[in-house]
């Protein structure tokens, strides 16, 4: 009994402390929450429009050999590092089955030996072959140019993976134990880079890979609105010679490269 009494006393003390702390925290945080909601309200409550087209310019001259900050940032941002190798699976095969949205590629020119480093991900085509071939329409392009997969209607046929010229898509081969709310994931569906679509919907101005590249001091990736002639992206595209990977396919990609 005495033990119970003493624990009750302690409880009362904790409760009042928690109460005061929570109250103080609420007063301190509430204006921020309201502001954040107001800031986010516009993009979330209104339909995505085609007034913008999100895109990127990757300056391969600035992309550093051996740096994989963009890959790691993407893994963190989209919960790709939460994928767990199933028990009994070999390392080598798992590495070929685990989903990756962005990878670093190093090229050597056959004639000159010139080396180029670049990150490669979904190129967010204006005419995406993955969207053309998807039988259910699960692979789709948003009005703002982002190509992504509707995970409610993806049947896991992988035809989009057959059709993508950039091998940008991954299939979820394993049971998913943990995932992030902003990047839902399920066994048996296909996914790929969506230009951090949750950030777009929250009105944020960059992607995880862009931020990581900038934090490393490389600034090799520039993100922005291709339709706005005044955007830093459009200005950079005007200043630097750039091209699309597999330009011959005339897909008008949203991701452009300079120095390839």
């Amino acid at each position: 009994m005495s033990m119970n009494n003493s624990s009750e006393k302690i409880d009362r003390g904790r409760r009042s402390f928690i109460g005061v702390t929570a109250g103080t925290a609420a007063v301190a945080v509430a204006p921020g929450v309201v502001l954040h909601t107001m800031a986010g309200a516009a993009p979330r409550s209104e339909a995505v429009t085609s007034d913008v087209r999100w895109g990127m310019l990757i300056d391969t001259a600035k992309c550093a050999d051996g740096c994989d900050a963009c890959v790691k940032a993407c893994d963190d941002e989209n919960g790709l590092n939460l994928q767990i190798k199933p028990e009994g699976e070999g390392d080598a095969k798992w590495d070929q089955q685990v989903a990756k949205w962005i990878r670093k590629v190093k090229l050597q020119d056959n004639a000159t030996g010139h080396l180029t480093n670049l990150p490669l991900m979904c190129q967010h085509c204006e005419h995406p072959p993955c969207v053309d071939v998807c039988p259910t329409g699960a692979s789709f392009k948003r009005a703002d140019g982002i190509v992504m997969v509707d995970r409610h209607t993806c049947i896991g046929c992988r035809y989009c993976m057959m059709a993508c010229p950039y091998k940008a898509r991954s299939f979820i081969h394993e049971v998913v134990a943990e995932k992030l709310t902003r990047a839902p994931r399920g066994k048996g569906c296909v996914e790929s880079c969506n230009l951090c679509v949750h950030r777009r919907d929250n009105g944020e101005s960059s992607t995880a890979c862009v931020d990581a590249c900038a934090a490393e001091g490389h600034n090799a990736i520039l993100f922005g609105d291709l339709k706005d002639p005044e955007s830093p992206l459009s200005k950079a595209l005007g200043a630097l010679p750039s091209r699309q990977i597999r330009q011959d396919l005339a897909l008008n990609t949203g991701v452009r490269y300079s120095g390839v």
Binding site: L107, P135, A138, T153, P165, K167, E174, G188
Partner: protein, 408 residues
């Protein structure tokens, strides 16, 4: 010429149930393999993010292609008016339905989300050839069932020719659709070719006829029905013509690709340096699947021997599977050419570093699922000919061949 009489397959019950038990066991293993892959996820298969379609697709596409080809014998009778072939029309249509059902089963059970089949049936993207194929497959089933009805039901007889014609046109569209699943893929060097559609059509002629001949010979042999030389020689010679046509289209496909320098990489891979895929192409498809069967079929002695011709049909089937393996898996193993004139020397996602092809090692569950599809097709056929009147009582020359009958 006598009136054609159809009779149920009179196999002894022991043999019949024994056959069903074996087929059901193989189909059951396929079912278990599906449950295992569905429960665990595709990591238990050999498929990866580099080779996304594997052994199940080899079997599924093989069966679907063979299905449309199996209908040819019926079309020759109904559409082209060759009375000699008419007694075979019912079996031809049944086999077409059975093979398609087996193939579709494998295709659906290999989906990442087979539970969402209803989504595939209710959400259509009409720019997708895959979506069109779903319509083509279900339409094929419906038309061929109607076709069977017109043949089996006296009231339907007047419509046999018109429904048979619709079925014939539909089967050509279906195989065009199947070939186009690959032909339309602009991104991959081995695909992106219109010739894949007609190539799949002539492949379907050969594969469907080889399977048809095997089933016909086996079922007739088992309950001692007469099968005259007149029809037998025509069917096996027709198989020879179909195999020759496949050879021509395969040659044209590769010559076309070889002519332009930009495809030399993929051609060198498939024809010379592709390891197992090169072996599958030359030995599996060209030699075992076409040249040896052609040699047997047109051999003055062996070509008259039914066991040899049946072996030739078996080789055509094996060659067909090898062909699908090269077309489906080999073409994915060859890395996408994204940077012409450059070599990828490092990549975090297997982009063919230093030209290294993507690896794919088929797993047992995938193989069992594929075999399960064949077993289901054979199960439908066996039950069909046993309980319904699909097989003609006799294919003896004097019963089916107007010329032989006239001579007699």
């Amino acid at each position: 010429m006598k009136r054609i009489v159809y009779r149920e397959w009179r196999l002894t019950p022991q043999r019949y149930w024994g056959l069903l038990a074996i087929l059901a066991a193989v189909a059951g293993l396929g079912g278990l393999a599906f449950l295992y892959m569905e429960h665990e996820g595709h990591w238990v298969t050999g498929m990866t993010n580099q080779v996304v379609w594997g052994t199940p697709h080899v079997f599924a596409v093989f069966l679907i292609v063979a299905a449309s080809g199996a209908l040819n014998v019926a079309s020759i009778g109904s559409v082209f008016g060759k009375t000699l072939y008419k007694p075979l029309a019912r079996l031809s249509a049944l086999l077409a339905i059975a093979l398609l059902a087996g193939g579709l089963m494998v295709l659906v059970l290999d989906l990442g989300r087979p539970d969402r089949l209803i989504v595939a049936m209710t959400h259509y993207n009409f720019k997708s050839i895959f979506a069109w194929n779903i319509i083509l497959y279900t339409g094929f089933m419906a038309i061929v069932i109607a076709y069977l009805w017109t043949m089996a039901e006296r009231k339907g007889n007047p419509y046999t020719k018109s429904v048979g014609f619709a079925a014939f046109v539909w089967r050509l569209l279906l195989t065009t659709g199947t070939g186009s699943i690959f032909g339309f893929l602009v991104a991959r060097q081995a695909y992106d070719a219109a010739i894949l559609a007609p190539m799949f059509i002539v492949m379907s002629f050969a594969l469907g006829l080889a399977i048809f001949l095997l089933v016909l010979m086996l079922s007739f042999d088992q309950d001692g029905r007469p099968f005259g030389d007149s029809l037998f020689f025509r069917l096996k010679n027709l198989l020879g013509v179909f195999l020759g046509s496949v050879l021509l289209l395969v040659l044209t496909y590769h010559l076309t690709k070889l002519y332009g320098t930009k495809y030399h990489g993929v051609e060198a891979f498939l024809l010379v340096s592709g390891g197992v895929y090169t072996l599958m192409f030359w030995v599996g498809w060209i030699l075992v699947g076409m040249l040896i069967p052609l040699g047997i079929i047109y051999h003055p002695v062996l070509g008259k021997d039914r066991t040899w011709v049946a072996s030739a049909c078996g080789l055509v089937v094996l060659g067909g599977l090898a062909a699908m393996y090269v077309i489906i898996v080999g073409s994915q193993a060859y890395p996408l050419e994204m940077f012409p004139g450059q070599t990828i020397i490092a990549s975090g996602f297997y982009d063919g570093v230093n030209g290294e092809p993507a690896s794919y090692i088929p797993s047992l569950p995938e193989f069992l699922l594929g075999l399960g599809g064949i077993a289901v097709a054979m199960l439908i056929t066996a039950v069909g000919i046993r309980v319904l009147q699909f097989l003609p009582e006799s294919l003896a020359d004097e019963d089916v061949d107007p010329h032989a009958a006239a001579k007699a």
